[in-house]
Amino acid sequence: MSFDGDLTRSTAAALAAAIKGGDVTATEVTQAHLDRIAKVDEKVHAFLHVDTEGALAKAAEVDAKRARGEKLGPLAGVPLALKDVFTTKGVPTTCGSKMLQGWVPPYDATVTRRLREADVVILGKTNMDEFAMGSSTENSAYGVTHNPWDLTRIPGGSGGGSSASLAAFEAPLAIGTDTGGSIRQPASVTGTVGVKPTYGGVSRYGLVAFSSSLDQGGPCARTVLDAALLHAAIAGHDPMDSTSIDLPVPDVVAAARLADIKGMRIGVVKQFDGDGYQDGVRQRFHESVDLLRELGATIVEVDCPSFDYALPAYYLIAPSECSSNLARFDAMRYGRRVGDDGVNGVEEVTSLSREAGFGPEVKRRIMLGTYALSSGYYDAYYGSAQQVRTLIMRDFDRAFADVDVLVSPTTPTTAFKIGERADDPMAMYLADLCTIPSNMAGNAGMSVPVGLAPDDGLPVGLQIIAPAMADDRLYRVGSAVEAALNGKWGRPLIEEVPAL
């Protein structure tokens, strides 16, 4: 038995093959990652909870299966970091909030269950902005996560723990959720791959809701193929989620292996360029568009005027839904309870628990949403925002009538400094400017690394957007870009991450 190279720097596909081929055991792979976490997570703080016991038990189970000659799945024995927003039976789930401190769910999310069924080894739960509200992971109640490319910078958010765990080589795979960009933006600023599948493509059962009509779980990885393998493992209809789509999952793995975009028509969104975009980001983006053309695609400019209203509309819809979704946190049945002194009544206890349990951004959004839904304001705020949503869908429909996919920068800037935007919610919100329209329309998006910005040396992501249930196109384009750039650079961009 031998495995050539560092287990923690390997791809998921290679690890799975090595485990299947007997070159390495799942236990060795898992232990290597646990060791890596023990070594570097102090600096990165990607994990809120490391489930050493559970991970090693699962790995042993995979090794036993193999020893018995049972067939192993495509990701059997491969470690994964799970965003702490998915419920895990018997393993704490906090959503980055003090409100859920100490809560151990009695049930598995569908994504969790499917990962277990695929024999993926869940290493632990990753840090996130509280209840997935934020773009920097600074809103976590348990401390910020640091970007492995530069520890003074944010790893993106809300899924900063998941993206950082990949860039820090603590896990080859991670799961995120994307409500306004929380998978794609972290992927972009950490030089990793992140995919928001079509809304309804991956079950939301057991995903603690931020904004139900926008939330979507999805795969995070260091390569497009790894993301596709993970996508295939978690996607598909779930009768427990009414909004889950009952159609076959597009063959994303085949698309990732195809890596060929000859003859595709690719639209460049006119609205996502110009003022407010970092020069280095624009430069890498324009080079990417040139590359797509070189690879045989036809490039056209696409006008999506309503995208200009996506951000304000999003900040009405998401808080509205969140104000209702988070109402259940009343400290009655689970979670942290404050002020239960035998004198305070139920309303006081709820109020004190919420005061202590929710952070400022969560409170801000609950208040915004409560206001937007209140009688007399509903039509002007929530109602108008839904109309904007319809307009955004129409812009996409018109665009996709002409092109196969759309591209844009994933986020207007590279990773900003920790603390830089913490006191400026509006600046923070702009990080999701390019990613929000896909959530509003429910289609699919990917961020794939396209180099380091020449002005600050930090990773830049290319966003690819495909129509609903055409997720395979993301992988086709993403893998073609990845292969071309790897060829050009001689090795994957992720190898440039400084040693920790």
Binding site: C95, P105, Y205, S212, S242, T243, A327, L373, S375, Y378
Partner: protein, 501 residues
């Protein structure tokens, strides 16, 4: 603090000045096997919190899935209420805080109900009233709180509360009437008849047992008064969770009197919810609605719209049973009952009881006689519904058989009823245990007759002389001796025979 009736104007005086307007909201728990949005069972009476899951406990991450059977029931109710059925409708979240509501919002329907614009014809006070239905919509029930300690049994003042979530998520249909006007003095009667008719309809549809005492059907009664002749409605009060037909009638009656007192004093009625008190028939204020409560309704994003196919709706229309009013007309003809009889039977909730008794072999007139006579009297005494008496249609049928066979006379039968209601067993068992059978042995009767003749010789002579008047005194004496267990007709026969000889 409940308002006492002492200082209220009489009902008649109130109605001489004011015209009542009602709005009735009836919640019906559907009898589906599983809950509205999860697979938990709905069976009544299980240990607290044993019929729960992440979804109906509102655990973080859990999601609802609509129970198709509940939608089917809702559509059938809508069709039976002559409603239009929405081609496309959504669930909505009704946001408010209450400890027994797991998500702190109720999944309900707002401006897109599954059924709307219908009516239900009912009979009360000798005429037919068309009650217009505004809407029937689907929603989920809340958990059930028990407030421990404190004087009122309500949350305020309690030491602590226990919550049972078994009921949380049980499917409910809320049926809302349009304002009911023009009922005048008959308002309480109409309210009761409407709820009774609705209950019959729900039961006939088989969508719920609609047992009000178990909370499977609950009525919120909105009442307002306006001076007679005025167009504009007065301020309404909403008396919540009125849980029997009798209480519906009493609550409306009381509120009419209370509102009249307030208006007579020149005050304004406060818009508020009120609680009804079974013990004295009064209501007391619940929470005051200082401003209209803002439920911040918005479409439920966790559920997809409901779009029942027209073919399905038509199919369901085909499954509607004989509606209670049609059935009642048929039964009325079969039983040869007058309109008035039939209405009393209906109001007493006796239709099914009589039908069942007849199906077990009793003649209809006998079944009616016992249910609407002696048994109705007992129900009234116990302040209970007829159907809640501790006697079954089978037992009544047995009683009828015993009287028809002459084993019991009416007086004895009434004693048997007392025994059955007291839990002493079936009529036959009560007859045996209490030794109540009619004395049918002529020898024993003749001995008693001779005793009576000896005791009242004057009366006997008069009868011998052809004057039958005093025979009653002699028969009475015989009945007394036999402790009422004689057949009076046979006694008369034997007596006259004896004295003519």
């Amino acid at each position: 603090m409940s308002t006492s009736t002492v200082n209220l104007p009489s009902y008649e005086d109130a109605l001489a000045t004011y015209d009542p307007v009602m709005g009735l909201e009836v919640h019906v728990e559907l009898g589906t096997v599983t809950k509205m949005f999860c697979g938990c069972p709905t069976a009544f009476g299980a240990d607290p919190n044993t019929q729960t899951c992440p979804t109906c406990l509102g655990l973080p991450g859990a999601l609802p899935v609509v129970n198709t059977k509940a939608i089917e029931s809702a559509i059938r109710i809508g069709l039976a209420l002559n409603c239009e059925i929405a081609e496309w409708c959504r669930f909505a979240r009704k946001n408010y805080f209450y400890p027994d509501m797991p998500k702190n919002f109720q999944t309900s329907q707002y401006d897109e109900p599954i059924a709307f614009n219908g009516y239900l014809d009912i009979e009360a006070a000798g005429k037919t009233w068309r009650i217009e239905i505004e809407r029937a919509h689907m929603e989920e029930d809340t958990g059930k709180s028990t407030h421990v300690g404190g004087a009122t049994g309500r949350i305020h003042g309690a030491e602590y509360s226990l919550v049972d979530y078994n009921r949380a998520g049980i499917p409910l249909i809320e049926i809302v009437t349009k304002p009911i006007t023009g009922t005048g003095e008959h308002a309480p009667e109409v309210a009761r008849a409407y709820v009774a008719e609705l209950r019959e309809l729900i039961k006939a549809l088989g969508v719920s047992e609609a047992r009000m005492e178990l909370g499977q059907m609950r009525c919120d009664a909105n009442v307002s008064l306006r001076p007679i002749g005025r167009e504009k409605f007065g301020t309404r009060s909403e008396t919540k969770n009125v849980n029997s037909l009798r209480s519906v009638e009493r609550a409306v009656t009381f509120e009419i009197r209370r509102h009249a007192a307030v208006l007579n004093a020149g005050d304004t009625v406060i818009q508020e919810t009120r609680h009804f008190h079974e013990n004295d028939g009064t209501t007391s204020p619940g929470r005051v609605k200082e401003e209209a409560e803002d439920y911040r309704y918005f479409p439920e994003p966790d559920l997809v719209p409901v779009a029942p196919a027209r073919t399905w709706v038509d199919e369901l229309r085909g499954t509607l049973p004989e509606l209670p009013s049609v059935r009642r007309n048929r039964l009325q003809a079969e039983w040869g009952a007058t309109d008035h009889d039939m209405q009393s039977i209906q109001n007493a909730g006796a239709v099914d009881l009589i039908v069942q008794t007849v199906s077990l072999g009793a003649p209809a007139d006998q079944a009616r006689k016992w249910w609407m006579g002696e048994l109705a009297r007992h129900a009234n005494e116990q302040e209970a519904e007829l159907g809640d008496l501790a006697i079954t249609p089978a037992q009544v049928a047995e009683l009828v058989t015993l009287t028809t066979a002459g084993t019991l006379n009416d007086k004895l039968a009434r004693q048997v009823i007392v025994g059955v209601l007291a839990g002493e067993g079936s009529p036959k068992q009560v007859v045996a245990a209490r030794g109540l059978a009619v004395v049918s042995d002529d020898g024993a009767l003749l001995a008693a007759i001779d005793e009576a003749i000896a005791k009242f010789p004057d009366a006997a002579d008069k009868v011998r002389g052809g004057n039958q008047g005093p025979a009653g005194q002699l028969i009475g004496a015989v009945m007394k001796t036999t402790r009422g267990q004689a057949d009076a007709a046979r006694v008369r026969e034997l007596l006259l025979e004896r004295l003519s000889g």
